[in-house]
Symmetry: C2
Subunit: 399 residues, 2 copies
C-alpha cells in the first residue's frame, strides 16, 4: 500500500525529527581529533547543561538510553551495594533488572503503575535505614510506559529531611526537553537522558548529568567499568573531545536541537507540552475513556496512556489506526500489553499535528467499534484555543 | 517567534514536498550531456506521458507555469489570430492578458468566477464562427483562484459537434496529478502543467503535452519563439537530452514523483483527492459558510475556496491562522481579495493532515470571531471514515 503525505509518528519516542535537524545532520563526517570538531564538542557540552538546568558536567555517550542507565550505576556503586527503587512501570522494572545484573541489591517498592513514587513509602524506608545501607535512590521521572511522573523535588525533600546520604539517580529519558526538570535545584546526583524524545534527535546518543557528590562517589565506586567510565570522558571533554569515536552527525543534530530549544526558550517548550497534554486528556475524557494515570498531579506532559474498555484490544486498535490512517501509537508494554495505548505528544510538535493525531484516534475508535463518545477532537480544539491574552491578532497585509 | 513542529503549507500550491522527493533531489548535479543524464531524461519524458494520459510527446521547460502558458500560445498561433477564452477566474485573466501581449486577439466570454466555462455559451460562439476565425479555444481546467473546474470533455464534444477546427489548449496547472485528466481521450491539443502542485515538486518545471494536430499547427504558427520552441525541444528529447541546460535536480525529483504517483496508481490518487475535497466541503457546510464554487459538478478536488461572511476579512483570518497555528492558506486574488480564503488539499496529503488543516481553520474562525457553527472537523472526520468495504482490519501482532 502506497502512503501519501506524512506518517504520524506518535509513539512516545523516538519522536518526529524536524527538517531543521535533518538538514543539520546531512553533512560529511569530520575528523574527530580536529580543532573543528573540538569547537562542536565544546559547544554542545556547554549548551547541553542549560537543558539539564545544571552547572555540573554532562557526558554524552554514543549509546541508547539503556547505556546511560548503566553508566549511572557502574560509575557510582560497588558490588553488593543496596539501592531503593520504585515500581512505576515497565521501565522501572528494566532499570531494576539491569542494576541486579550488575551486582547491586535492589529494594523495589511495589506499585500499581498508575501512580508515581510515593513519598510516604520513601519516608518509611529511609526511616528504617538508620545505618544508611541505601547507597542510592533510583527513580524514573516520567514513565514512558504509563504516562505517570514521579515528584523528584518531593523525593529530594524527603531525603534531606532524613539527612540520608544516598545518591539520587533519575531517569529523564522521556521528560528532558519536554517537562520542567532541574538537575541542580532538585539536588539530583545523576540524571539519565536520551536523544530521541524531547531533544528531537534520532536515537543514538544518551547522557549523564553528574553532581559533585556523584563525582566523589565515582572515586570509590568499585563496579567494573570501561566504556562508561566518567573519568575517561571528562578529561577529553574539557577540550571538546571524546575518548572514543563520537557519533559525529548526531552531534551536528544535537547542536541544532539545542539551538532550537534555546530559541523557543525552555519555559515556552514546557508550556507547549503542557497545553498539548491537557488537550489530549480533554479528548480522552470526552471519549469517555480512562486516562491510565490515576493521580492528576502525576500526569505526564509528554505522553498519555489510555486504558481500553474491557474486552477491547488496544493492539487491534493501534493496528487499524496504522493501516487506515498511517499513524503509529505506542503499545502497552509487558503487563499492559493490549490493555492501553499511548499517545506521544512530545518533541517537535504543534497544535495542528495534535489535532491530526487526536482525529486519527477518534476515527480509529469508531472503526474498531470501541465504545466511546464522539467529540473528543472538538473538545480538544476548544481547549487549545489561545487565551485572549496570548492571542496573536492578524493584521491585514497592505494591498 | 519560534515554531515547533511542521508548518502546514495548505495553499493550493506549491504543495508540501514529501521527504522521499527531497531525498531524491539531494544529489550532486551530473553532466547534462552524459549518458547517465540521457537515461534520466528518457525515463522522465516517457513516464510523464502516463500522468497526462497521452501517447503524444510532453516537453519539460525549466520555467514556471506561466512559461508553459506562453509556450502553448507561441507554438500554435500567429500574430492577429483570434481565440476564444472563458472568464473563470484570476488565472484565466492572466492567460488572456498574456495572449493579448503576444499579439493574439482574445474573445473573452465573461463569467462570475463561480462556475466553469459554459457549454451553451461555447456552442453559440462556435455557431456564429462559420468562417472558423477561432484558431484556438483556451480553457483553465481547474481555476486555482476559485476552486472551480471546467468540463473539458464537454467542451471537446461541443467543438466536435460544430466540426470546428480550432485547437483546444487547456491549463491543468492545479489539476494534473490530482484530478482525472485525459489529454488523448478528451482530444486536447496542448495541455499546460507545472511541477509544484499535484506532482509534489518544488516550483521550477512546467510542461506542454502536444497533440499531433498541435504539432501540425506548430509548422505554420508565426508567433516569434526561441526558448519555447517545441521543435528545438523534440529533437534532443528523442535521446533524453535538452536543447539548453535542464534543471537537473528537479528532474531527479520528477523521476521520484512519477514513481510515487504510479505506485499509488492514478485512480487511487484521484479518489484520495476526491475524498479530501468532499470532507472539506462537509466541514465548510457544517460551519455554515459558503463554498465559493456554486455549481457542484464543477467542484475542484484540489482546493476549496470559502466565501467569508459579509463584513469579515479573509486576510485577517488567514493571518491569525498563520500566526497562531503556523498554517498558510491561500488568499483571495484580485477581485476576491479579502473575500475568500482557499484551502489547498492536494499533492502529498493524507487524512490526518487534512484533519489538522480543518482544525486550524475551525480554531481560526473562532479566534477571529467569524460567525460559524462549530463541529466542521467532527463532520469531516465522519465523512473520512472508510466505507466498510475499504476498511483495513487490524490484526493483532503475535506476542
Amino acid at each position: 500500500m502506497t502512503r501519501a503525505g506524512s506518517h504520524f509518528l506518535q509513539i512516545p519516542g523516538p519522536t518526529n525529527v524536524p527538517d531543521r535537524i535533518l538538514r543539520a545532520m546531512h553533512r560529511a563526517v569530520i575528523d574527530h581529533r580536529s580543532q573543528e570538531f573540538a569547537s562542536l564538542g565544546s559547544e554542545v557540552l556547554e549548551n547541553l547543561r542549560l537543558i539539564f538546568q545544571t552547572r555540573s558536567p554532562v557526558v554524552i555517550y554514543p549509546a541508547s538510553g539503556t547505556g546511560a542507565w548503566e553508566a549511572a550505576i557502574v560509575n557510582t556503586l560497588s558490588p553488593g551495594d543496596r539501592v531503593l527503587m520504585f515500581e512505576t512501570g515497565h521501565f522501572s522494572q528494566l532499570w531494576r533488572q539491569q542494576a541486579e545484573r550488575l551486582g547491586v541489591v535492589v529494594d523495589y517498592v511495589p506499585g500499581n503503575w498508575r501512580r508515581g513514587a510515593v513519598a510516604t513509602e520513601l519516608a518509611s524506608r529511609l526511616s528504617a535505614d538508620d545505618r544508611h545501607l541505601y547507597k542510592a535512590v533510583m527513580v524514573v521521572h516520567n514513565e514512558t510506559s504509563t504516562g505517570v511522573t514521579s515528584n523528584i523535588p518531593g523525593i529530594r525533600v524527603e531525603m534531606d529531611r532524613h539527612r540520608h546520604p544516598a545518591l539520587l539517580l533519575v531517569d529523564t529519558i522521556s521528560s528532558l526537553g519536554s517537562m520542567d526538570y532541574r538537575h541542580d535545584e532538585w539536588g539530583v546526583d545523576v540524571t539519565v537522558a536520551g536523544s530521541q524524545k524531547g531533544l528531537m534527535l534520532p536515537p543514538g546518543l544518551s547522557f549523564n548529568a553528574i553532581s559533585e557528590k556523584a563525582l566523589s562517589a565515582n572515586k570509590t565506586a568499585k563496579l567494573p567499568r570501561s566504556y562508561w567510565d566518567w573519568q575517561e570522558m571528562l578529561g577529553p571533554n574539557r577540550n571538546g573531545f571524546f575518548p572514543f569515536t563520537p557519533a559525529t552527525t548526531l552531534l551536528y543534530g544535537l547542536k541544532e536541537a539545542l539551538a532550537m530549544l534555546l530559541e523557543e526558550e525552555l519555559p515556552n517548550v514546557f508550556r507547549r507540552h503542557c497545553r498539548h497534554a491537557e488537550a489530549t486528556r480533554t479528548a480522552v475524557r470526552t471519549w469517555g475513556l480512562e486516562i491510565f494515570c490515576e493521580a492528576p498531579p502525576a500526569y505526564s506532559s509528554s505522553l498519555t496512556a489510555v486504558l481500553m474498555p474491557e474486552g477491547h484490544d488496544a493492539d487491534r486498535l493501534r493496528s487499524m489506526i496504522l493501516e487506515n490512517f498511517d499513524m503509529s501509537l505506542g503499545a502497552g508494554l509487558s503487563r499492559l500489553a493490549g490493555k492501553v495505548f499511548r499517545i506521544g505528544h512530545l518533541g517537535s510538535f504543534n497544535d495542528l499535528m495534535l489535532a491530526g493525531t487526536l482525529s486519527g484516534v477518534e476515527m480509529g475508535l469508531r472503526l474498531a467499534r470501541v465504545p466511546h463518545q464522539a467529540g473528543g477532537v472538538t473538545a480538544a480544539l476548544q481547549s487549545l484555543a489561545p487565551a485572549e491574552t496570548d492571542l496573536k491578532h492578524g493584521t491585514r497585509p497592505s494591498t
